[in-house]
Amino acid sequence: MFKFIHAADIHLDSPLRGLSLYEGAPVEAIRLAARRALVNLVDLAIEEKVAFVLIAGDLYDGDWRDFNTGFFFVQQAARLREASIPLFLIAGNHDAANKMTKSLRLPENTVLFSSDQPETKRLDSFEVAIHGQSFSRAAVLEDLSITYPHADSSLFNIGMLHTSAGGSGAHERYAPCTLEGLVSKGYDYWALGHIHLRETLCEKPYVAFSGNVQGRHAKETGPKGCLLVTVEDDRSCSAEFRELDVLRWESLLISVTDISSTDCALDLVKTELTKLLEPSQEKPHAIRLELHGRTPVHAELLARKSQMIHDIRAIGIDIGQGKTWIEKVKLSTSAMRTRDNTEAMDGAIQEIELLFSQLRSADGESIVGQLDLDDLLKKLPVELQSMGNFDAPESLAAIVNEAEATLHQKLLSDGAAQ
């Protein structure tokens, strides 16, 4: 019986995204999260006395150029060497794009598979054969698994592959392959990388994405880590997920239908946050919070938006014991009664509502055209110009809603008039 670790997509030193600073935000909690997750990985390997560690691609972030990052990795690999644990790497799309992959001298316990053709490494003491091939360039579009050798039936066979498998979605479609293709090789375990969401494609043989070790933005939610695989003497194996992340991303969708006041909304937020944080109270969290639903206090919520955000962040600080970062607060509520477009729109305020209603059904380009954002965009650094995706339909819809709420608040809430 022996154990090994299957991890992937470390993206070392890639910073967490979307966290705007605010008073009381747990700045320390997000520091060097990817590095600390890697340290956790090495700690786990040593503690579990694993036979070897597999990293199925994307150790680095593609456009990251600091050689210090490579050295940090070498230091961690050296810790594994001290514990006599071999480390097997394949280069993923990000690694292929990164010069460091070629320049960095790896410790003797670390093996980087060739990108020319599939290679097989044998570990005689465990009767294991590991097959793998690195990406030679960022965009590998052919199915690499086809040329992988067939299993050596006297050994436990592991295939390492950086692939988008059959899926598409948010990840680039690189080195696509089919489950049947993988199974046909007769391997016992396929350690896949590239897709950041953990997923087991098949249990016999075991084919799985371990997901990334640390969520990097609001869309990479939930526990992140690696698979600790136990191989029994009869070559059957089982995988257990182990957390490695140092900061957990969560998305909290709270329905505020039927509440009677903004205070009730805050109470709900408090309850939901407590529920979310309770099982893993110790771990810092970055949370995107969204209030939705038709509610009688829709207008009041929007009118007090900045106060609400402030209050919710304060609740986060309180419940999260200073370790929770409220990344964004989205107010996607709607009024109990929306105005009927067919209604006679002959009042002044109705004129505003009509215009907003027209905006909602207009195409993005015409809205952007109306806004005249050239002066702003011109000043923004090039790489940030597309950052907010302001012209994306979802983004525009949110902006239109917010603009309407802002105007409503300016014109009609207390202090604006009577």
Binding site: F67, G70, I352, P381, K410, Q418
Partner: protein
């Protein structure tokens, strides 16, 4: 929708209050409530009713959140009615009329269309602040049409501020030109961080370059090391060749001398040392043996000289024993005479005692005196008892007499304490009424209070001019009520106010008249300006003349008087035609003059007209004033009439309010006084009856205890003291009785004990007499006497015993002395020559001296013997050692083949010389082997011999090598430093997280930029939409709204303005202007504040009316908007509102009674309704 009834069930200050809005077409309702009456609460109640309570409300100060209720009866636009109650809760807040079932919110919302709470508050609500704010905004915005129409339609009074604030906020976030805007600052920070990051990061290329450099430098380092090694090798060889030239020569020489000594035997290395050590040892030991032999001989001679003492020593023990006993013998002989003396003294004493006891002095009689011990004890015991028995009898007799005396005394005391009658009844009474003992004080207190109150009431009556009222009439006297007084006060105040206003108006008109007069005077300073009237008058007179002439021409009769009157008027004319022509020219010149001075004429005409109107107005006002004075008088007389019943001359209602207050407190005082009087009567009778009761009880117990004429408290005190006395006496009697009982018991005990004591005494006397006979004393001898005799006898026996002991001791001494002397003589005769003449002392001395000499001689002989034995043993040991060494020496001699020990040293020296040459050869070879390094010695010497041909060149070669080595070292050091620097450079890439941390900061700033950009876009969009909405609204509604508003505005301004128009201003923007009656245009900036307010109100009403054209009605809630309007315009506005109320219900809240009166003055009764908020005390 229309509100028919508003139920303020539990809201703000209201509890179960209702406001009924009487049914009219739609209706104008003036809801009046003074300050604090809850006007604002009722206003809020309408919004809360329609849209539900907000999460926070301030209207819960009386009713808690859960109890808040507001209800209404509503007339719906489909003709039905709906009665609902709104409660504050999370769900189902709209309830049916009995508040027990939810009502579908939709039923209410159907009535409102798209109007929500905010819209309702703005569109359908207006107060004077928002009206004024709307007016101000309009002026600030130069009356821009779009803005103004939009603000009026939405009821937003701060539209411009909102628009400005949106733009300002957006610019605060981002302004292309402003570096201080938030986004610009963030971008700067972002770029700075980027710069830092690029400085801090180390790329793979940099790393590779540094790595290459290091490798190159390390290669050079290795090469230099190799060159140096070769040079060092050569240097070392040459140096060794030079260094070995001397040793090789020496070696060769030593080897040849060794050849010459090859016959000399080789001795062990330590042979010489061993040889000299053995020889030295042998000699030393031989010397020691010789010395010991001489010493032994000397000792033998000394022993022979010592005398023999064996005879003396055989008696040593006996002699020493005698010498020891001699001391004891001597002291016993000295002691014996003393003991003899003591014995004689004892004999004398015994004889004396016998004499004292009256017996013969022979000591042989002593034994007859011996008394058995039990008898002696018995006599002592009896003697001791005597005193006790005697004392006991005496003390019992004394006690018996004391107790008897005590009993007699107690009996006589008891007799003196005669018991009194039963006093318990009295005691109970006192307890029962103890609390009432202070009644007299209360009585005094009330008495003085009543007297004081009477004086005060009388004083008050005097002050209030009510002397004619007796005290008793005071309570029944009727005075006027507060309400009446308030009514009169209000009427007086109103009249005063009206009068003041009239006076102001008159003064104003009079000063206007003065001004007009002054203006007229100014116009006519140069000449009198004719008026149209003058011309008309002149023309009339001219026409009269023409009529006369035409009548004359028609031959009609003309009266002379008419003719004469006409001529008189034209005073210079002689006849009618002249007069007519005079008039004709006068009228012409007057007409000319009028034409020439047309402007002045017009002015004058206007001034005159104004003056006339002014005068008329003053006249009217004077009339009003007279009327007002009349009203005041009527009111004063009514006021006085009201006061007639109490016969008081009233002052002003305000003063009389104080009077009423005083009167009320007087009445109160009087009531209190009456109550106190009743209390006083009750108290007096209570005191009297209580005193009598106690007095009767006292007399009953003790006829002498009369306490008449005492006050109640004194009586209580007396009775209490009396009862206390009785209690004390009884307790004393009981105490004595108890003592008596104890004494009697004690007396009986005493009698028994005394009889017993007497019996014991007699028994003792009998025993004592018997014992006294035994010791030859009288039977009544005292115990002391008996004791004395017993002691004497005892002492006698003691002395007798001591005397016998002493006699035995003296005999022993004598026996011991004889024995000693005998033994001494025997020993002396054996040791010394036998002699009978020697005294004991002499014998002893001679024996002692002789023994001493013998012992000393024996000791000396023993010492010499010991010394000889030791020296003999030592000689044997040394002799053995010498023999061993001799054996070794013999062995050495055998080795070098010699016979005598003294030949050995020479042979050793020759063998040593050979060995040192051998050593030299070995040393040299060793040295040369070192220099030869990896060559054998022979190879080395051969190589040396080969080099020796060029031996002289070697130093020069060495110098050259040294130079090469120095330069190699310099270069090597340099390279080493470069390697270190390159290595440091590479080591600096150590996995540091600096760059990664900056990247994290960059992400945070980027995220902030994104947030701020999004906010900027949002604000810009909001602002842009607002501008568009304004323009669109204007385009759609300008025509109808301005048309309606013009009408309203003209009516509100009493037709001072005829309409409102949109005109382009200097910047080319369409702006609102008011058009005066005469067609002149006035911009909003040129209008007074009040007019602006009216313009904005007109626009608001017009916008609403346009809206109502397409929507079902919703009540319009107005809050005291007329406060800044003058009376006439206020009236006009009320009229406008009335007309507007035909479109939708108007709820006009006010706290000015004046507004109600204005409405009453301008509207007829069925055109409006006044609803009063319930009085606060009735809420």
């Amino acid at each position: 929708m229309r509100i028919e009834r508003l139920d303020l069930l539990a809201y703000g200050p209201f509890t179960n209050a209702s406001l009924e809005f009487a049914h009219q077409q739609a209706g104008l309702h003036l809801i009046y409530g003074p300050n604090e009456a809850g006007k604002s609460s009722s206003l809020r109640a309408i919004t809360d009713l329609v849209f539900g309570f907000q999460s926070r409300t301030n209207d819960d100060f009386l009713h808690p959140y859960s109890k808040l209720r507001v209800g209404a009866k509503l007339a719906l636009h489909d003709g039905r009615t709906l009665t609902v109650v709104r409660r504050k809760a999370a769900k189902n807040t709209l309830r049916d009329d009995r508040d027990d079932a939810a009502v579908d919110e939709g039923r209410l919302q159907d009535q409102l269309g798209s109007v929500d709470r905010d819209l309702f508050r703005h569109m359908f609500g207006i107060d004077h602040q928002s009206l004024r704010a709307g007016g101000n905004e309009m002026v600030e915005g130069n009356g821009r049409v779009g803005e103004t129409l939009f603000a009026a339609a939405a009821g937003i009074s701060k539209l411009r501020s909102a628009q400005k604030s949106l733009l300002a906020q957006a610019e605060e976030l981002f302004k292309s030109a402003a570096k201080t805007s938030k986004i610009r600052k963030l971008i700067e920070e972002y770029q700075e961080l980027k710069k830092q990051q690029s400085e801090s990061l180390v790329s793979a290329d940099v790393w590779n370059a540094r790595d290459e450099l290091l490798k190159r430098l390390q290669g050079r380092q290795v090469t230099l090391q190799e060159v140096r090694l070769e040079l060092t090798r050569r240097e070392s060889w040459i140096q060794r060749v030079i260094d070995s030239s001397n040793p090789i020569a020496q070696l060769k020489q030593a080897k040849s001398s060794l050849e010459a000594m090859k016959h000399i035997p080789v001795l062990p290395e330590d042979f010489g040392t061993q040889c000299s050590r053995l020889l030295d040892g042998w000699r030393e030991l031989q010397n020691k043996i010789d010395q010991l032999d001489a010493s032994l001989e000397q000792l033998d001679t000394q022993v022979e000289t010592i005398e023999d003492a064996s005879h003396w020593l055989s008696f040593q023990t006996e002699i020493e024993g005698l010498l020891e006993e001699f001391g004891k013998h001597k002291s016993a002989m000295e002691d014996r005479p003393k003991r003899e003396g003591e014995r004689s003294t004892m004999l004398l004493r015994m004889q004396n005692i016998l004499r004292d006891l009256g017996l013969p002095i022979e000591t042989s009689n002593i034994d007859n005196l011996r008394l058995p011990p039990d008898k002696r004890v018995r006599i002592q015991t009896l003697g001791n008892q005597r005193e006790g028995l005697f004392e006991k009898r005496q003390s019992l007799q004394r006690e018996q007499s004391t107790i008897s005396t005590d009993i007699e005394k107690a009996l006589s005391q008891q007799k003196a304490l005669a018991t009194t009658k039963d006093w318990h009844l009295l005691e109970a009474k006192i307890k029962q009424h103890r609390a009432d003992s202070g009644l007299e004080n209360d009585l005094d207190q009330i008495d003085s209070e009543i007297r004081l109150a009477e004086a005060e009431v009388n004083g008050c009556l005097q002050r209030l001019q009510l002397n004619h009222l007796g005290m008793t009439e005071l309570s029944s006297a009727s005075v006027i009520s507060d309400t009446t007084l308030n009514e009169f006060d209000e009427q007086f105040r109103l009249l005063d106010k009206r009068k003041a206003k009239l006076v102001d108006q008159i003064q104003e008109l009079e000063s206007e008249a003065a001004r007009l007069e002054h203006e007229l005077a100014l116009i006519e300073t140069e000449r009198t300006i004719p008026s149209e009237a003058d011309l008309t008058r002149l023309r009339a007179e001219r026409d009269q003349g023409w009529q006369l002439i035409s009548r004359l021409l028609a031959d009609e009769t003309v009266s002379e008087s008419d003719k004469q009157r006409f001529l008189e008027k034209a005073n210079s004319a002689k006849n009618i035609s002249d007069a007519f022509s005079t008039y004709l020219s006068m009228t012409d010149s007057l007409a000319d003059e009028l034409r020439w001075h047309a402007d002045k004429v017009t002015s004058k005409a206007r001034f005159l007209a104004d003056a006339a109107r002014n005068k008329k107005k003053i006249g009217k006002l004077r009339e009003d004033e007279a009327q007002l004075i009349h009203e005041q008088q009527a009111l004063s007389s009514a006021w006085k009439d009201v006061w007639l019943p109490v016969k008081v001359e009233p002052k002003s209602p305000r003063q009389m309010r104080d009077w009423l207050g005083d009167f009320e407190s007087l009445r109160k005082q009087y009531r209190e006084m009456t109550v106190k009087d009743i209390q006083r009567t009750k108290l007096t009778s209570k005191v009297k009856s209580l005193a009598m009761e106690i007095q009767a009880l006292l007399v009953d117990i003790d006829a002498n205890a009369s306490a008449e004429k005492r006050s109640l408290s004194e009586l209580f005190q007396f009775a209490e003291d009396f009862v206390d006395d009785c209690i004390k006496k009884q307790s004393r009697y009981m105490q004595i009785e108890e003592t008596l009982e104890q004494d009697r018991t004690r007396l009986a005990d005493c009698d028994i004990e005394l009889a017993q004591a007497k019996k014991e005494w007699e028994q003792w006397q009998a025993d004592w007499s018997a014992e006294m006979q035994r010791v030859r004393l009288e039977k009544d001898a005292l115990p002391a006497q008996a004791n004395c005799v017993l002691q004497e006898v005892q002492e006698l026996f003691q002395i007798q015993e001591d005397y016998q002991n002493l006699s035995r001791r003296i005999d022993g001494i004598d026996r011991d002395a004889a024995d000693f002397v005998h033994r001494l003589k025997s020993v002396a005769n054996q040791v010394l020559a036998p002699s009978s003449n020697r005294t004991t002392e002499q014998s002893i001395r001679m024996l002692r001296d002789g023994l001493e000499v013998a012992v000393k001689a024996e000791e000396k002989r023993k010492t010499l013997d010991d010394t000889r034995k030791k020296q003999q043993a030592s000689r044997k040991e040394i002799s053995d050692q010498r023999n061993t060494i001799a054996k070794n020496l013999d062995e050495l001699c055998k080795q070098v083949q010699c016979n005598e020990y003294h030949e050995l040293p020479t042979l050793v020296a020759v063998a040593g010389k050979k060995s040192s040459v051998e050593k030299e050869v070995a040393e040299l070879e060793k040295h040369l082997v070192t220099l030869a390094r990896n060559k054998t010695l022979d190879e080395f010497i051969a190589a040396f011999d080969a080099e020796s041909a060029r031996f002289d060149e070697l130093p020069m070669q060495l110098d050259a090598i040294h130079r090469d080595l120095a330069s190699n070292m310099d270069e090597y050091d340099r390279t080493l430093q470069e390697v270190k620097a390159a290595k440091d450079d590479l080591d600096r890439i150590d996995g540091s997280a600096k760059s990664a941390e900056i990247a994290e900061k960059i992400q945070t700033v980027a995220s902030e930029i994104e947030d701020a950009s999004r906010e900027t876009i949002t604000l810009r969009l909001a602002s842009s939409i607002l501008s568009k909405a304004m323009e669109k609204y204007r385009a759609r509604n300008q025509g109808p709204v301005l048309g309606l508003a013009s009408d309203y505005f003209a009516r509100m301004t009493l037709q001072n303005y005829r309409s409102i128009q949109a005109e382009f201003d200097e910047q080319g923007n369409p702006s609102l202007v008011g058009v005066r009656r005469d067609g002149t245009q006035v911009s909003v900036g040129g209008m007074s504040d009040g007019t602006c307010d009216q313009l904005f109100l007109a626009l608001r009403l017009a916008s609403l009316e346009v809206w109502l054209d397409k929507h079902p009605p919703i009540p319009f809630v107005v809050d005291d908007i007329l406060v800044h309007f003058d009376e006439e315009r206020a009236q006009a506005t009320l009229k406008v509102l009335h007309d507007f109320s035909k479109r939708t219900q108007v709820l006009f809240f006010t706290h000015h009674e004046h507004t109600l009166r204005l409405a009453e003055s301008i509207l007829v009764a069925n055109e409006f309704q006044i609803v009063r908020l319930p009085d606060r005390q009735h809420i």
